[in-house]
């Protein structure tokens, strides 16, 4: 009796294992096949998220390092580089969250312009903060067909912990554009969304736009002074 029971258990385990091995094999094959088009068969000429980020960051770094050229020219250059790969309209829309649909088209336009100027000047302020940091490009990952994430580290020159900076990209037509940046896992756009949501709920659009403009003016003045 005992012997029989043992055999049954043993064969059923063996069968199970065989089935599992087969299932695993099928699953792996299916996975490889489904991933193949995007990962391995992508045309070599197409812009991929990693090279978009690499090009942008390296160009920005060369402007940051170049302290021969006058500051105003470097700022202009940086502005061009940034506006070529950042999807500012998408960023503005996302940062306002559900309030975006509640304001008029004219206000949407006004807000986008103010927000773009603010973000650009925040980015330009980095010229003054640059202390010889290096950038390490780590990995690129596709999140669905249209979305991608590129992970980088900013290496501090004095051996401090690196800052993790990830770029979130969205494919529009054929080009990849950056729509959000995370710094040490904090999404910048989500952070502004929380701030804007509070101002919209507590004080309304007029306060938001005037606060945004005055902060941007302060940043611009600080930039001009350096």
């Amino acid at each position: 009796m005992k012997q029989v029971k043992y055999t049954i258990t043993r064969t059923s385990i063996q069968r199970l294992l065989r089935h599992r091995a087969l299932a695993m094999l099928t699953l792996t094959a299916a996975l490889v096949l489904s991933l193949a088009p995007s990962r391995f068969l992508a045309p070599a000429w197409a812009d991929d998220p990693m090279s978009v980020v690499q090009t942008t960051v390296n160009r920005a770094l060369s402007v940051l390092r170049d302290n021969q050229t006058p500051l105003a020219q470097r700022q202009d250059k940086l502005r061009q580089i940034v506006s070529a790969t950042f999807d500012f309209t998408e960023m503005a829309k996302s940062a306002l969250g559900y309030h975006w649909k509640q304001i008029t088209a004219a206000q949407q336009q006004e807000f986008t312009t103010a927000f773009v100027a603010f973000i650009e000047d925040s980015y330009l302020s980095k010229i003054n903060d640059y202390r010889g940091q290096q950038v390490a490009f780590l990995t690129a990952r596709n999140d669905g067909p249209q979305y991608a994430q590129v992970n980088t580290n900013i290496i501090e020159p004095n051996g401090q912990d690196p800052i993790h900076v990830n770029y979130l990209l969205l494919q529009k037509d054929t080009t990849w554009k950056i729509y959000d940046v995370t710094v040490d896992a904090i999404s910048i756009i989500a952070n502004y969304r929380n701030q804007f949501n509070r101002v919209m709920n507590n004080k309304g659009y007029d306060t938001l736009i005037s606060d945004l403009k005055s902060k941007q003016a302060a940043l611009a003045a600080r930039l001009a002074n350096h």
């Binding site: 996302s94 969250g97 896992a185 904090i186 952070n191 929380n194 701030q195 101002v199």
Partner: protein, 258 residues
Amino acid sequence: MRSGSKQIERTSARWMMLASSLLAVISFATPALSQATNPQTPPAESQAVTPDPLSGFNEPMFTFNLKLDDWVLRPVASGYSVIAPQPVREGVGRFFDNVRVIPRFANNLFQLKLVEAGGELARFGINSTLGLVGFFDPADELFGLQEHNNDFGLTIRYYNIPTGPYLMLPFFGPSTIGDTVGLVADGAMNPLDYLVPTWISVTVATGQRAVEAVNYRSLHMNQFEEADRYAIDLYGAVQDAYLQTRAHKVKELHEEQW
């Protein structure tokens, strides 16, 4: 005799609290395996906003903390940073970090991270001796043993227990209801509490906390000025940064395990 039995009573009450909160964690624990990866929503349609039911309490507390920083913490930290050079202050920071080994060890254990928990013990042994009571970190630099920071607020999140609304604590800064429970639970793990009368341990803990705060602030002198420069609403910026950081930390804890 009387005060002795009172002491025991208080101590056992503390342990009961700790034990019952642990029990709650274990009995409510849902397997952490089913951590679904966030499906990416189109960025412009992402409309998530953070609820803040306690904002009536939080906002005045935030103002209080800013004023406290402005009037006390920043001036003191600024003076202190003139006296003590940066390497010394970094050493002091490491010293305090080393002292808080028990909550790190215990919470890694609560999350069944046995390697990390053991690593914390080894780090404490190495850094307390070779590292001159924790002023240096040879455990990392010579032995490659990195710190695995952990706390009870993270344990609560680790087992998918809701951490409750955002809460701005006076002196301590941003938190949530769950993280505040965690702060108390981690605080109850201080061995000093069980060895000396309460008034001594409270005084020591407060003093330690104050020195630690001054030391930390001296290493981050421009933190608030910088944050305010890029913020439209500083309260909202701090709130979101805190909650995103905590959420990410738990995601990391899940990922390193499986």
